[in-house]
């Protein structure tokens, strides 16, 4: 009697495992499987345009770092701040990261500009519903740096929401829900008909560096490295430049 029950239990487990394997195998039926690329949300448009074939997961770089740390099946990790890739590198979860592009921050307001923001300094003097990314999200940290450099940290008292990635900030401003939001200049472009960009002066810009690395446990390391090389090549760099990203300065750390 017990033997029969054990057999049923084993069969049940086998069924579950088989089902999981089947869903996985379906993705591996072609010769060159699409890579699973975990990338910062700000890279959504440019990566998809550059190579629509791969499987992408776009989110805040800190959320992606946590997922990879907990075993997410990524082949490549592209982060908007060195911190996230370096932390994974220190514990051996990714191979040596490489800097591949840079960016600048901008303040965006809805086209209707309900709070009448013409310059960053207006944030100080006018009532405004300001939306930023959370402090652990790269763009959120960069926002804090910008405000500190300009002596405008007091503006943070006007924050009404801390979002989990830069696209959520962009969305709320584009929809007119928020009066203003801090994003990358590259995020303003796809919604340029819904938002107006208020320029942040060059002397207040933080040092934004995007890093990319092959995930150590990836089963497609050669393909992943080839993809990264293509990104670092002229073709990839031109695509990034056309999307508004900045080339990496020569002597970057």
């Amino acid at each position: 009697m017990r033997q029969a029950r054990h057999r049923v239990l084993a069969l049940g487990l086998a069924l579950v495992v088989a089902a999981l394997a089947a869903t996985d195998a379906g993705a591996r039926s072609t010769a060159t499987p699409p890579l699973t690329i975990y990338a910062a949300a700000s890279l959504t448009e440019v990566f998809k345009a550059l190579d629509p074939v791969q499987n992408y997961s776009f989110a805040g770089s800190n959320a992606l770092e946590t997922q990879i740390r907990n075993g997410a099946p990524a082949d490549i990790f592209a982060s908007a701040a060195p911190l996230n890739t370096q932390r994974l590198f220190k514990v051996g979860m990714v191979d040596k990261p490489v800097t591949f592009t840079a960016n600048r921050l901008a303040l965006i307001v809805p086209k209707s500009n309900p709070a009448g923001i013409k310059s960053i300094y207006d944030l100080r003097s006018k009532p405004v519903k300001l939306v930023v990314a959370g402090p652990a999200v790269p763009v959120g940290g960069y926002t804090l740096t910008v405000l500190k450099k300009m002596g405008l940290s007091g503006v943070l008292s006007k924050v009404v929401s801390r979002e989990s990635d830069v696209k959520a900030v962009t969305g709320k401003v584009a929809l007119g829900q928020a009066d203003a939001g801090f994003v990358y200049v590259t995020d303003a472009r796809p919604v340029s008909d819904q938002v107006t960009v208020v320029k942040i002066p060059a002397w207040a810009q933080p040092r934004v560096r995007y890093e990319i690395a092959v995930v150590s446990k990836s089963p497609n390391k050669t393909a992943a490295q080839a993809w990264i090389n293509a990104l670092l090549s002229a073709k990839g760099q031109t695509a990034l430049k056309n999307a508004g990203f900045l080339p990496v300065p020569k002597t970057s750390t």
């Binding site: 450099k149 002066p201 060059a202």
Partner: protein, 202 residues
């Protein structure tokens, strides 16, 4: 100030004055460097903002002088002045960097900037002078505001020295023929100074 000597080099000021200018620029550069090395105690938001702006402006000025030297439209004697201006700007950048580091922040490096100069900015002597004044005057105005706005006394001395140094650099570029001395050069708040340099800072 001194006996008039024919101005043969088109820089627009007298020779002895130029020598004095050179000396004063160097000395002020050293003084500024010395002051900046003091550690930052309780730097407020505003004080750091002026420092961050000034740092970029100093890199910009150094770049201006480098371009002016390369174009070499102001004459051989002017080269010494331009070189001292470049050295002064670099010292000032270092001093402001130290101030920012002392306050616990990361200062920008010159590689972080991609300065933009208009096409004909250094084509003639007049153009070179005009470009220089365009860059130096707003910086001077910002430092004047900093002196009033900043509370930490060692920083106030620093910014006052920067005002003095930039005043001399502006004076070195202003031609004595037809150009007036400003009675009360305006102090610019950070927003206006930043807007004035926006085209150059990139």
């Amino acid at each position: 100030m001194s006996a008039a000597v024919p101005d043969r080099h088109g820089l627009g000021i007298d020779r002895p004055v130029r020598r004095r200018t050179l000396l004063l620029a160097t000395v002020s550069g050293l003084v500024v460097a010395g002051l900046g090395a003091r550690s930052a105690e309780a730097a407020t938001d505003d004080e750091l903002a002026y420092a961050n702006f000034g740092l970029a402006a100093a890199y910009l000025a150094a770049d201006y002088y480098a371009h002016a030297l390369e174009a070499d439209k102001l004459g051989a004697d002017a080269r010494r002045t331009l070189r001292s201006g470049r050295a002064a700007s670099r010292s000032q950048a270092r001093a402001l960097s130290d101030l920012i580091t002392g306050a616990g922040d990361t200062p920008a490096a010159s590689e972080d900037f991609a300065f933009e100069w208009p096409a004909k900015a250094f084509d003639t002597a007049a153009a070179t002078r005009a470009t220089g004044l365009d860059v130096l005057r707003p910086t001077l105005g910002a430092y004047q505001s900093a002196v009033a706005a900043v509370s930490e006394s060692s920083y106030r001395v620093l910014y006052a020295s920067l005002v003095a140094s930039l005043g001399q650099q502006v004076g070195a570029l202003v031609g004595s023929v037809g150009e007036r001395v400003e009675t009360f050069p305006p102090a610019l708040d950070l927003e206006r100074a930043s807007d004035a340099l926006e085209g150059y800072l990139g």
